[in-house]
């Protein structure tokens, strides 16, 4: 396997882009990433595009080819990959593998989704494409229901409180206020959160990520890097993709996602580092309680302590491990197929030292992207180039 770097990043703001076709958002983000890298389009050997529900919501597929064409890339393989909410992370991993395995010397990973133009019921139905509808539909659970159950169990087992989970919301919403790409930053109090609309007890409105449009892209290249490289490179130490149970009842424990645990363990082993080496993390907080669970599954926080650590400020930018300084899915937004690539974008900014919510001296960053009810997961580890 060859050493691979991230040499360019681009992103649209996450939020409402009503009337802008999804492929235009993807092209905008990818063109920005190419400009940022200075890599000539003729050197790009593969494009991977992460997208989840453009078929149901836009009547558009074959987006990888359309985006490759509109970007003016050469005649190269352009492939859409899908793994529900982990689609972006899977696109990134495949671009990395294409270079690491020697198939090409440079590649583009792009993630894109548009959702805000569709009616709420249509979006809910489309998001439910990420469930095992044959086996789990009879339960009547949608994603808020699943994470509401997870919260109940976490609270019962570990004593996790509303105040602890609200600390996650307040932190991420506050970071979102300062992230120019974020959709829904806010300066909230515990009372604001408690007073927001009930979604699925115990989840209130501010516990849930918004519906979003957006695209993000990164350009990757093999070492030795092109001599005309314009950006500060970031090394990819590991990128791992795992599978968990497809059925909700197939999970031995709703307070933990096996796919996250195994992806993190393999990523640490591949990178040769420990969880304590990680300075900054973008993880999959589709709901506030998900950040609590993910932080434990990733080995960053002791089991059962995710809520306490958030309340004590240990997961803040100046804490022991900075979690979601982008604002996370809760505040930055969750244009599903774009999210995993957007996480990479955020960590690269941290490792370049140019983030709006900068973690001082950040050297090693992590991303965590979770799909469906935990059936697909990617974890990547990145390092500031020496």
């Amino acid at each position: 396997m060859r050493d691979v770097c991230i040499v360019g990043i681009g992103s649209t703001p996450f939020g409402r882009h009503a009337g802008t076709p999804i492929e235009q958002l993807a092209v905008r983000a990818a063109a920005e990433a190419l400009r940022d890298s200075g890599v000539d389009r003729g050197r790009i050997g593969a494009l991977y595009l992460g997208n989840f529900i453009s078929g149901p919501l836009n009547g558009k597929e074959i987006l990888a080819g359309i985006v490759g064409d509109q970007l003016g890339l050469p005649n190269i393989p352009c492939t859409k990959v899908e793994g529900a909410c982990a689609s972006g992370g899977i696109a990134f991993r495949h671009a990395w593998m294409a270079i690491a395995s020697g198939q090409c010397d440079a590649a583009v990973a792009v993630g894109a989704e548009t959702m805000t133009h569709a009616a709420g019921a249509q979006v809910t139905a489309a998001l439910n494409c990420a469930m095992d509808n044959e086996d789990d539909a009879p339960s009547g659970l949608t994603f808020p229901g699943l994470f509401g159950l997870a919260w109940r169990i976490h609270a019962q087992r570990y004593g996790t409180t509303r105040a602890q989970v609200s600390a996650v919301v307040r932190k991420n919403k506050a970071y979102g206020l300062r992230n120019p790409l974020a959709q829904m930053g806010a300066d909230l109090t515990d009372a604001d959160i408690a007073a927001s609309a009930a979604i699925c007890d115990p989840l209130q409105l501010f516990d849930c990520c918004p519906t979003s449009d957006g695209a993000a892209a990164v350009v990757l290249a093999a070492r030795p890097l092109p001599s005309d490289l314009q950006s500060v490179p970031v090394d990819i130490l590991a990128s791992v993709q795992t599978r968990g149970a497809a059925r909700i009842a197939g999970h031995p424990d709703l307070c933990s996602f096996d796919a996250t645990v195994s992806a993190a363990q393999r990523a640490y082993a591949m990178a040769g580092i420990a969880p304590t080496d990680v300075d900054v993390v973008e993880l999959h907080d589709c709901f506030s309680i998900a950040e609590v669970i993910d932080s434990e599954d990733l080995g960053l926080v002791p089991r059962g302590q995710g809520g306490a650590w958030a309340l004590e400020g240990r997961t803040a930018v100046d804490g022991q491990v900075a979690i979601n300084p982008s604002g996370g899915l809760l505040a930055k937004g969750h244009p599903v197929g774009a999210t995993g690539v957007g996480q990479i974008y955020e960590i690269v900014r941290q490792l370049r030292g140019t983030h709006a919510n900068q973690v001082r001296g950040a050297k090693i960053g992590m991303t965590h992207n979770l799909g469906g009810t935990g059936v697909a997961c990617t974890v990547s580890l990145l390092r500031r180039a020496a």
Copy 2:
């Protein structure tokens, strides 16, 4: 790159499987391929699933993970890939790359689609997800319209006749009659074809592939092969994925698909063989005229002679190069995401010498899978193991 073989194949019949969930078809095909290979599930290191429109037509995504789970595969990366009608070919190529590049020693490629449960207008709308809807929708063209135009130009430029194109239909429908997996074999006369319903002048009903359900799967493994291998292995000489213009107006010539031409040239170069070395081909005859064009684009037939060769029997099982002895998309059917993997299934049977329409002494076979208006293409070359 390591040498990779196909060691197991499985397929449902193509046709109507009303009421059978798409993931069950995929699991059935993949389980058959695993049994055929004798490879232990614990050795499988990656699963790629080709699917196009399960989101719009079934409200189901994340199928790769669901199928991997239901198959009882280990915790491995399970990835859906999409490239419209070329989704199956792209899944096969990625499974091959995962092994060739050393990421794993064995992998499964599966393709699946269900379409017949949906109303005709819904299927047409879903299929049109394969077009560049922003740029090409104003033309009002759907796929029959595009291939009708191509036929008009081919006839004008090369003198291709209705009788020549009907020879393609008669051949493929006749082969379909003897293929137990085929949906719509028939013993047709030129008069039957001419008398069938007009779809889009000059295309009649029998010039168009049917709407289909089905799944196909193959198991791939690195050389040296497992000692307990049950099947006769088939070598993968090449598997190439290309991109063509996304817009119809972006094609310099509607009588040829750039993505096919470049994929074939690269595949021949990778395999170190010439078009005349190919004994049997499964190519993308979504419409009768497509077989004429594809046979020329693949370099198997001189430019402009595709129709004449069909009428003269040169593309029959006992001709110079056997084209679509499975019955092709026209007769075997076209469950979109399954088609590319189904083509590999058919060629493996030919190279094992066990096909219902066997090409005598077949040593080298080819598959060709084309997506959208020519924006994505895969070509693979397979050889009977010595």
